[in-house]
Subunit: 353 residues, 2 copies
């Protein structure tokens, strides 16, 4: 199997960067299409193969393929595809277009690109914590290197063209994956979410469009990609994210002041169950992990690192458990393995103390 | 305050004796009335005072008061009375008749007697684990010593007379406090309970008549006290208890075989919550403690002693928390203190490892 399975958590979950206890990760992706080839619903297989070869050729010319891993989607089993989705390396849309679809992943999964997804090229840079500017600079660097070898489809009035008009313009979507238990528990969250949708931003669950909000994790991103520069889009999301972090921290202070015992109990019970359970569902893990993350952030729980919480978050997911077992597990087996993996993450954490 | 508060758990919860993981404690009590004084609903205050003095005089004459503690109910606060009930030293009925009601407690609370409860005298012997014969021998010894100094109301045909006909005859009630999670989880319990009621036995919750069955703890005792000798009554309850222990152990084996993961998970989650909670109700403790006791008994949890579980059982009760705090706590305070006491019992246990 050609999956880039690493002993380390992916680079976007190391618990480094700014405010890693609130902002899990920051991400920037750029949508690009290559001039001379059809895309979206009009694309044809022959041209998809040519697009793939053009992009890979550009990467080779820039000597980038030496440090990056290329994975063809066609060669993957279903649970391996899901593993890549859980790692935030590919989207479900990449699975539709199989024969010429592939993903190229840089070391630590910090940068990656999907070839023949909805657009010819989706370049992604992802970082731990709150660091949109770094993501933008790394995505832009890769985009330029490739762009030196081929011509992106660019319209002087509309900007970069894309298969869906919502991506036309900069082709940029910036997002933060943010943990907002304080705003959820104080019931302020709806007000905040309504607020951001009025200023050109949008929110989703952990796994993007259509995914459920689990464990109080929200993905907040720009809705508009046209009519503003990349810098303006990044700056705007950064500014609003800073404000949301401040709201969240205020909410946590209020909670702790007004309902200290309730919060402490909620946090510690969640910790106790995660430490001890012998079988556990993915949804329950997300909810318990949310409470534990809050407890670590509020310094109620000491000696547990954000990176351990992030390890649990990623390794306890269905397809990660399947990949670790080397087969598609039955739901009951998976829940047992999930509990085992969580306990071993706690043990690893305690050995590092 | 004159409560016999001991650093140790009461003698009936040390976790010693036969099958302490299934049978928490064994108990024998004898009901006696003193000739020449009215009792039950016909009793009058003057005579109650005389009865008390007669019994205390007998204890003094036998030099028993040196090693026993006498506590007048009249001098106790409400929560102190409840503490005594939780220690199984007095019944609610003793609280009705206050002015001349008292209790005399031997060291370790192994033997005790209530004066001016429903009957003039209720002598009790209680032991950890399954040991009815020892209880009977100790209760009978105390009964004889007192009986050497005064005359019990005895009818040649009916035996010892009592205020309620159901206690007339031997005046003996033997009981075991038994933990039956296996029979409850396999849904065999109703059959067992129906069975015992057909053979002259009865069952109750942890705190006797009318109390709810919590945490899968049952008190099983003889219903009939007349027409059989004390030895026959004790032997019968002992024999049936041995059978119930066997049924319970079979049920546990079946459970472990058929639902090992479910049971392990239930046991360990209960342990995790008890270890970590910051506020917890008494009922929740009983239910979690039931699972943990099962886990220790089935050797799933190692390094946790039955005596620690018993300490938690007794010290986490409402009036024990009130007495420890020196005041009647508010429910919310009590739930917080309960969680703290439980954690300190676990810490004490771990320090002994």
């Amino acid at each position: 199997m050609a999956l880039p399975i690493e002993k380390q958590v992916p680079g976007w979950l190391t618990g480094e960067g700014e405010h890693p206890d609130v902002v899990l990760s920051s991400r920037v992706r750029l949508a690009r299409n290559i001039k001379g080839f059809r895309y979206g619903s009009r694309s044809v297989r022959d041209e998809e193969l040519q697009v793939r070869d053009e992009v890979l050729g550009a990467l080779e010319h820039e000597k980038l393929l030496d440090t990056m891993t290329r994975i063809n989607i066609e060669g993957l089993l279903a649970y391996e595809c899901n593993y890549m989705i859980e790692e935030h390396l590919i989207s479900k849309d990449l699975l539709i277009n199989k024969p010429a679809a592939c993903v190229v992943v840089g070391s630590g999964s910090r940068v990656s690109m999907m070839i023949n997804e909805e657009d010819h090229l989706r370049i992604q840079s992802i970082a731990s914590g709150f660091d949109l500017r770094r993501c933008w600079s790394e995505a832009e660097k890769l985009e330029s290197l490739i762009g030196g070898n081929l011509e992106y489809d660019f319209h002087p009035k509309f900007g970069f063209l894309s298969s869906c008009p919502t991506n036309t313009g900069t082709g940029l979507r910036a997002s933060v994956l943010i943990h907002l238990p304080g705003l959820v528990l104080t019931k302020e969250i709806q007000k905040v979410l309504r607020g951001i949708t009025k200023i050109g931003l949008t929110f989703r669950g952990l796994y993007g469009e259509g995914s459920e909000v689990l464990g109080n994790f929200f993905q907040i991103s720009n809705q508009i990609t046209i009519g503003k520069s990349e810098k303006e889009l990044i700056d705007h999301l950064s500014r609003i994210t800073s404000q949301i972090i401040q709201h969240e921290q205020n909410a946590r202070s209020v909670l702790f002041k007004d309902a200290g015992h309730y919060i402490q109990d909620k946090v510690w019970r969640a910790y106790g169950i995660l430490e001890r359970a012998r079988t556990i569902s993915g949804d329950e893990v997300m909810n318990l992990l949310s409470a534990v993350r809050l407890g670590v952030s509020m310094k109620l729980i000491k000696g547990l690192s954000v990176s351990t919480i992030n390890r649990i978050l990623i390794y306890s997911q269905d397809a990660h458990l399947d990949v670790a077992a080397g087969k598609q597990l039955k739901p009951m087996e998976r829940d047992i393995n999930r509990a085992t993996v969580i306990r071993s993450c706690f043990e690893d954490n305690n050995q590092l103390l």
